[in-house]
C-alpha cells in the first residue's frame, strides 16, 4: 500500500473530525456576556483551521510524488490483528479478573509475535503477574479488578 494513501486517509479523517467538532459546537450555549467569548468560539475556530490544514495536506499528498514508499499490507494486517488481541485483553480484564486474564494473555501475545522459547514464555508470564501483584496490588494498593 502506498504511503500516500495513508497520508490522504489521515488528512481526510482530520477534515471529518474538524467537521464533527465544528457541528458539535453549534449546540453550545451562547456566551454569558461581559466580554466572554462563549464555549463555542475556541472549538469553532479550531475546527475551521483543522479543515483547512487537512484539505491542504490532502492536496499536497495527491500532487507530490515524494511519498511513494510502499508499506507491506501483510505487516499492517499483522498489527491490526495484534490491536484486536490487545483490545480483547482489556475487555476481559474486568470480566475475569486482572491476574487470570494477564497470565493467559502473555503467552498468547508472545506466541502471536512468533516467539517460540517456551521456558521464557512461562517465565515472563509468571514473573510479570507476580510483579504486578507485589508492586501494584500490595505495595501501591491499587485496586485491580478481580
Amino acid at each position: 500500500m502506498l504511503f500516500r494513501f495513508g497520508e490522504i486517509g489521515i488528512s481526510v479523517l482530520s477534515v471529518l473530525a474538524g467537521i464533527a467538532f465544528g457541528l458539535g459546537s453549534r449546540n453550545f450555549p451562547a456566551s454569558a456576556g461581559g466580554g466572554d467569548l462563549g464555549p463555542a468560539f475556541f472549538p469553532g475556530i479550531l475546527s475551521l483551521i483543522l479543515i483547512i490544514l487537512g484539505s491542504l495536506q490532502c492536496l499536497f499528498s495527491l500532487r507530490y510524488n515524494r511519498s511513494d514508499k510502499r508499506i507491506p499490507l501483510k505487516t499492517l494486517f499483522r498489527v491490526i490483528v495484534g490491536m484486536g488481541l490487545c483490545t480483547f485483553y482489556i475487555y476481559m480484564i474486568p470480566v475475569c479478573g486482572y491476574f487470570y486474564v494477564t497470565i493467559a494473555f502473555c503467552p498468547l501475545f508472545l506466541l502471536y509475535q512468533g516467539y517460540r522459547k517456551i521456558p521464557w514464555i512461562v517465565g515472563i508470564s509468571v514473573g510479570f503477574v507476580i510483579l504486578a501483584y507485589g508492586v501494584f496490588y500490595r505495595m501501591l494498593a491499587v485496586a485491580l479488578p478481580l
Binding site: D36, P39, S67, C106, Q113
Partner: protein, 497 residues
C-alpha cells in the same frame, strides 16, 4: 540565611532524616519510572505513612520523592518510549532513538547527569532567590498564562519543522481533544456524551497511548535486526567530551526550568518542552533533534528537575503550590501541624532549610546511584522485541488503570495508541498532539478569563508588560522555523541549479 542553612544540614544529617532521604529518593525513582504513576500520586500514596513521623523527616521524605520522580521518569522514556512522568515526554523524543541505535547507556547517563546538575544548581537558586522571586510567581494572571500557553504551542513549529502541516494538524487536533469536558468558564459540558468525560480526556492516559502503546504496535511489525546494528556496548556511559558538549545546555535548562517552575500551574512538563525547544533552536545541528541528540535529553532533564525547586518557591514563601505535586505537599504540611504560607519561613525555618539541605545531599547521591543503575538498565534494550512489547503493554495497562482505579483510562489509552500508531506510520508527529492537550485548557480558559478581566477588550494582552513580551516571543518562535524552512528550500534549490 547561612546559619539557617547550616542548621538545615544539621537536621538533615540526623538518623531519621537520612533514612527518609534515602527512602524518598529510591521510592521516587521507581515511581517516576513507572508510567501512569507521577509525583502527585506518589506523594499522596506516602502521606498516610507520614502520620506518625516528625515534621522534618516527613517533609524530607516527600520532597526527595518529588525530586527523584523527575530522575526516574527518563528511564522508561529512554528505554521503551514510555515517559514515566509527563515531564519526561521531551526526553523520549531523543532518548528512544538513541536506544534504537544501541546507545541506551549514553542516553541514560546524560539524563542522570543533567538531572543531577539541574537539581543541585536549582536548589542553590532556590536558597538564594526564593523570597525575592515570590512576587514574580504572583504576577501571572489570565493574560500572562494565555501568552505562556501560546508560547508553548508555538514550539510545535520547531518540533515538526520538517512537516509543518502535519505537525500543526496534529496540534490542532490535540487542541480540539482538549475541549472535551466541562467548560470551566460556563460550566457546561462540551462533547461529553458520557459523564466520565466531564473532566476531559485524561491527559496521562492520552500521552501513554500516543507514545508507548503506539510503540507496542510498532514492535508488533516484527522488524528484527535491531540488535545487529549496534556498534560498541549498549551500556557504555557517555564520554567526557559528550558530557562537555551538553554543558551549556544544562545551564540554560536549569535556568529555564527553575523560572517556569515558579509560575503556579506551569510545572515540570512545560519547563521541559520550553527548554527542549530552546536547545533545538540554539543548536548547531538542529536536525539531530528528534533522532538522538544528547543535547535534547540534557535540555529536557535539567529543566524538569530544576522545575521541582521552582515549584517550591511559591509553596515555601507564600503557601501557593507551583505544581499539582506541590499542592499535595501543602496537605502533608497541614497534617504535620504546619501552615504553609507567608509565615512559614519565620515560624518554622527549619522546614524549608532542611528540605534545601536534603536536595543538595540527594543530588550527588541520585547521580551516582543512577549511573550505576544505568549500566544495568541499558541492557533492557537488548531484550527481544516480543518480550518488550508485552512488558510495555502490560505496564501501561497497570499504570493507566492506577490513575483513577478505573478501566476508562485504559480504554482511552488504547484508543490513542491506535491513533498514534497510524499517525506515526504516515508521518504525523505525535509530540505536538501531546503538547496541545496539555496546553489547550490553559490557553482557552485564560484567553477567556483575560477578556473577562478586560471587559471584552483585547488590549489587555498588550497593556501588561509580561504578557506582551511573551506574546512577541511566541510569534517569533512560531514563525522562525517556517522562515528557516523557506530560506533553506530557496538556498538548496539555488544550489541545485
Amino acid at each position: 540565611m547561612l546559619e539557617n542553612l547550616v542548621s538545615g544540614f544539621g537536621y538533615a544529617f540526623q538518623q531519621h532524616s537520612l533514612a527518609a532521604l534515602c527512602a524518598g529518593t529510591l521510592i521516587g525513582y521507581f515511581i517516576g519510572a513507572m508510567p501512569g504513576l507521577n509525583p502527585t500520586l506518589g506523594i499522596s500514596l506516602l502521606i498516610p505513612f507520614t502520620f506518625g513521623m516528625k515534621p522534618i523527616p516527613a517533609m524530607i521524605l516527600l520532597s526527595s520523592l518529588y525530586m527523584a520522580c523527575e530522575y526516574g521518569g527518563a528511564i522508561t522514556a529512554i528505554l521503551i518510549n514510555t515517559p514515566g512522568t509527563s515531564a519526561a515526554a521531551a526526553t523520549a523524543l531523543d532518548g528512544y532513538p538513541l536506544t534504537l541505535q544501541g546507545k541506551a547507556g549514553k542516553a541514560l547517563g546524560i539524563s542522570i547527569i543533567s538531572s543531577g546538575l539541574g537539581s543541585f544548581f536549582s536548589t542553590l537558586l532556590l536558597i538564594a532567590f526564593a523570597i525575592p522571586l515570590a512576587r514574580f510567581a504572583l504576577s501571572f494572571g489570565g493574560p500572562e498564562y494565555f501568552a505562556l500557553a501560546l508560547f508553548g504551542l508555538s514550539i510545535v513549529s520547531s518540533l515538526a519543522s520538517d512537516s509543518l502541516i502535519k505537525g500543526w494538524s496534529a496540534a490542532i487536533m490535540g487542541l480540539l481533544f482538549s475541549c472535551v469536558g466541562m467548560d470551566t468558564i460556563n460550566g457546561v459540558g462540551r462533547y461529553t456524551p458520557h459523564l466520565y468525560l466531564l473532566e476531559g480526556l485524561p491527559f496521562i492516559a492520552v500521552m501513554i497511548g500516543l507514545f508507548a502503546i503506539s510503540e507496542v504496535f510498532v514492535l508488533l511489525e516484527g522488524r528484527s535486526g535491531k540488535g545487529e546494528n549496534f556498534t560498541g556496548r549498549v551500556d557504555a556511559l557517555p564520554t567526557g567530551a559528550e558530557m562537555k558538549s551538553c554543558g551549556i545546555t544544562v545551564v540554560r535548562g536549569t535556568l529555564i526550568g527553575f523560572i517556569v517552575g515558579i509560575i503556579p500551574a506551569a510545572g515540570a512538563n512545560i519547563a521541559s518542552w520550553v527548554s527542549y525547544n530552546d536547545a533545538k533552536r540554539r543548536s548547531r545541528s538542529p536536525e539531530l533533534f528528534g533522532n538522538g541528540a544528547l543535547e535534547g535529553i540534557a535540555a529536557s532533564e535539567s529543566a524538569n528537575n530544576s522545575a521541582v525547586s521552582g515549584a517550591l518557591v511559591p509553596l515555601l514563601t507564600l503557601g501557593i503550590p507551583g505544581s499539582s505535586a506541590a499542592a499535595v505537599l501543602i496537605g502533608a504540611l497541614t497534617i504535620q501541624g504546619l501552615q504553609p504560607g507567608p509565615l512559614l519561613f519565620t515560624r518554622n525555618p527549619e522546614i524549608p532549610y532542611s528540605i534545601f539541605a536534603a536536595f543538595l545531599l540527594s543530588a550527588p547521591l541520585m547521580t551516582v546511584f543512577g549511573l550505576t543503575c544505568s549500566k544495568f538498565f541499558a541492557r533492557v534494550s537488548s531484550v527481544p522485541d516480543e518480550i518488550l512489547a508485552f512488558c510495555i503493554f502490560g505496564v501501561c495497562v497497570l499504570g493507566t488503570y492506577a490513575i483513577g482505579n478505573s478501566m476508562f483510562h485504559v480504554w482511552v489509552s488504547l484508543g490513542f495508541g491506535v491513533l498514534g500508531y497510524f499517525m506515526r506510520k504516515f508521518g504525523f508527529p505525535t509530540a505536538p498532539m501531546v503538547l496541545a492537550i496539555v496546553l489547550g485548557p490553559m490557553a482557552e480558559t485564560n484567553l477567556r478569563l483575560a477578556l473577562l478581566m478586560g471587559g471584552g477588550n483585547a488590549g489587555i494582552f498588550f497593556s501588561r508588560p509580561i504578557s506582551l513580551v511573551i506574546i512577541l516571543v511566541s510569534l517569533a518562535s512560531f514563525l522562525s522555523p517556517i522562515f528557516k524552512n523557506i530560506v533553506h528550500k530557496k538556498l538548496s534549490s539555488r544550489e541545485g541549479q
